[in-house]
């Protein structure tokens, strides 16, 4: 590993090799390399094309429902007694999470590239639903790989994908969760190289995905910037988001990376506790390695075998993290905390009771660290939390943990 250098301009990353410092890269089988280069070139051209950006902006406004509100959570603020808490209401987007921002961008890119078949992986099913949604909207066949364990615990989302015309393929290899779904999607892509577009749902995987997904999610941070200045006349003091692969967090953080006064907090899933070994906290409980095309922090044993992640949240149940987060951690620009299953359940209930909002159990991990963050930032401070998804999909899980039969 090379020496840690804190950059002057974060927006200049990744570099030409798809690296954020030591992290990122393109560790994929040779068969895929020409496709990865093709995607890189196609995305660079789309990114620079005003017509493409205008088309995307139109769909985000009229189909997704952007901009999402920045809401002052008065009762949570009073409850914690520290900084003012704002919630970025990504759960109000069409399909109920931030995932659609990225899916809309990538489906337009796929069509621009002439691809006719879409594949995706999903954990909780939110990305699968968002992908199935845009595929239905544009009339493209959609195959979603989902771990058999997740198919079982997220049945409503499986049915939702079916209603949207997608084929959900349960994955039984390995641990039958998100990482295995990603392996299987990569196996599909390497087999169907002519017509298939792999629509990755997180700011993870091989370059250019971490940068591209971040760019499509950065609309979250750009809107927050405008909205908070309109509401408060200044930038926030801290941003908070949950981190699995980390797309909602990097989308919020990225437009603020060069603003040194804005503290950044990512919250990883600590599962049953970091010291139990049953968690999904790649930065807090892992070390750097190579999986799914990139160098990043990973849960792995001494030998380098990937370890299973554990979290109440299927969306955070992944042994890795996006490479840009690994880098932001190493250079000290962002702080990565964690929240256990139990803490997240309590935060889920608190948000429901005080604000009348059921947060996704993923987003509840970020809510769980608000007490400390609100106190640290203090009374005159401003904290913005990305409420990345809605919790309707989680009511069965929450009921089961509360011992309630519904």
């Amino acid at each position: 590993m090379s020496a840690i250098v804190r950059p002057n301009d974060y927006s200049a990353y990744p570099d030409a090799n798809g690296r954020f410092g030591d992290y990122g890269g393109r560790y994929v089988p040779e068969t895929l390399m020409p496709l990865v280069h093709e995607l890189d070139a196609a995305y660079a051209s789309a990114k620079a094309d005003e017509g493409f950006q205008a088309q995307l902006g139109g769909f985000l406004k009229h189909y997704v429902g952007r901009p999402s509100p920045l809401y002052f959570a008065e009762r949570l603020t009073n409850h914690f007694g520290g900084a003012k808490i704002y919630l970025k209401r990504e759960e109000l987007n069409h399909t109920g999470s931030h995932k659609i921002n990225n899916c809309m961008g990538q489906i337009l890119l796929a069509m621009r590239m002439g691809k006719t078949r879409i594949i995706a992986e999903t954990g909780a099913g939110q990305h699968g639903v968002a992908t199935a949604t845009v595929c239905a909207r544009f009339g493209l066949p959609c195959i979603v790989y989902m771990g058999a364990v997740d198919v079982e615990r997220q049945k409503p989302n499986v049915f939702r994908m079916n209603l949207l015309g997608a084929e959900v393929r349960p994955v039984t290899s390995g641990s039958a969760t998100l990482k295995d779904a990603m392996n299987e999607a990569l196996r599909d892509w390497v087999t169907n190289v002519e017509d298939t577009y792999y629509l990755i749902g997180s700011a993870a995987g091989m370059h250019p995905y971490p940068a591209m997904v971040r760019d499509f999610q950065a609309i979250v941070g750009r809107e927050v910037r405008e909205q908070v200045i309109e509401a408060e006349g200044r930038l926030p003091d801290a941003l908070v988001a949950c981190v699995g692969g980390g797309s909602n967090a990097i989308g919020l953080f990225h437009p603020f990376l060069n603003d040194a006064s804005v503290k950044l907090f990512g919250v990883e899933a600590a599962g049953e506790g970091l010291d139990t070994g049953r968690h999904a906290a790649a930065i807090n409980g892992g070390r750097p390695g190579v999986l799914h095309g990139n160098m990043t922090y990973l849960l792995q044993d001494r030998e380098g075998q990937i370890e299973e992640a554990h979290s109440i949240s299927a969306g955070l149940d992944y042994p890795g993290i996006g490479p840009e987060h690994s880098w932001l951690h190493d250079v000290g620009r962002a702080t990565y905390l964690s929240a256990t299953d139990a803490e997240s359940l309590s935060a889920f209930q608190l948000c429901a009771e005080l604000e009348g909002i059921l947060p996704a159990i993923e987003s509840a991990h970020a809510l769980a660290r608000l007490p400390e963050i609100a106190r640290e930032i203090g009374k005159d401070g401003l904290v913005v939390l990305n409420l990345s998804g809605r919790g309707d999909k989680d009511v069965n899980t929450v009921a089961a943990h509360l011992g309630r039969v519904i």
Binding site: D180, E303, G304
Partner: protein, 277 residues
């Protein structure tokens, strides 16, 4: 820099006017002791070169047979150190058959790339294939392997155009692998007629012998490919024999080596009566 064993083997094959047979097995499959016996028996059964997979939990380019082989080996505790131990054991009885290790990047990253290269050379490994390490990411690995005298074997594929081929073969030695189908191991079937012009292209771009693998399961198919390639690789069909022998409670070593024997014979005799390659 020593590609001595690989170069000598391909020179001998050329002199004999035949293609080589490359057997792929997974280190520690179905267990370390049996795998060591299989390894020791491969040259006698007709393997001209041997590829030894080192098991990884998330082998993204493998089809179900090799995924399961890796899981069997990991379940019995196989490690990289154990893999080197198997190669060291093999070298006690065989000093001439080239051994190529094949696996995934994370184990190397975990072990340390330079330490890995040195351990491999010391154990008697001749070449290395890292499935998820394309030329773009291979600089440090190529340096370490050069210093240790181990060949970096490259994969070329149906998606490699001429410009890409030039990039791929830049720091390779020994031989070049041609992946005969776009896909994972052991699923689609290779077609010798389709493969032939690609082999010629790869040979020309690299100036090295070309081994073809990824979709070859039967002696007949192996013979067809042996008429157009310098070597034929079979992996999934062999590890499937291991799986079946275990399931049927048969003698695993005997069953695998008998399959190797039939495939190797088909490869050896494929060009009999042919005057040109």
């Amino acid at each position: 820099m020593s590609t001595a064993r690989i170069d000598a083997r391909f020179a001998a094959l050329k002199a004999e006017g035949r293609a080589g047979f490359v057997a792929y097995v997974m280190a520690g499959d179905p267990d370390a002791a049996t795998a060591a016996k299989i390894l020791a028996g491969l040259p006698g059964a007709g393997a001209d070169l041997i590829e030894v997979g080192f098991p990884f939990s998330d082998p993204m380019a493998e089809g179900p047979p090799i995924q399961r082989a890796a899981q069997r080996a990991l379940a019995k505790g196989m490690t990289l150190a154990g893999t080197f131990e198997q190669v060291r054991g093999f070298r006690q009885s065989d000093q001439t058959t080239p051994i190529i290790l094949m696996g995934y990047m994370n184990l190397l990253a975990s072990w340390g790339i330079e330490a890995f290269a040195n351990s491999a050379a010391e154990a008697g490994v001749d070449g290395l294939i890292v499935v998820d390490c394309p030329p773009e990411e291979a600089g440090p690995l190529a340096d370490a392997l050069d210093a240790a005298g181990v060949s970096l074997i490259r994969l070329t594929t149906p998606t490699s155009d001429d410009a890409r081929l030039a990039t791929i073969v830049r720091r390779t030695s020994g031989f070049v692998y041609y992946v005969s189908v776009a896909g994972v191991t052991g699923v689609k079937e290779a077609d010798a007629a389709v493969v032939a012009p690609h082999v010629a292209r790869v040979r020309k771009a690299s100036g090295l012998p070309v081994a073809v693998g990824f979709g070859i399961k039967t002696p007949q198919r192996a013979a067809e490919v042996a008429r157009v390639a310098d070597a034929v690789v079979v992996g999934s069909a062999l590890v499937d024999e291991i799986a079946e022998a275990v399931a049927m409670n048969e003698d695993v070593t005997k069953r695998v080596l008998s399959k190797v024997d039939s495939l190797a014979k088909a490869v050896r005799t494929a060009r009999v009566g042919q005057t040109t390659v």
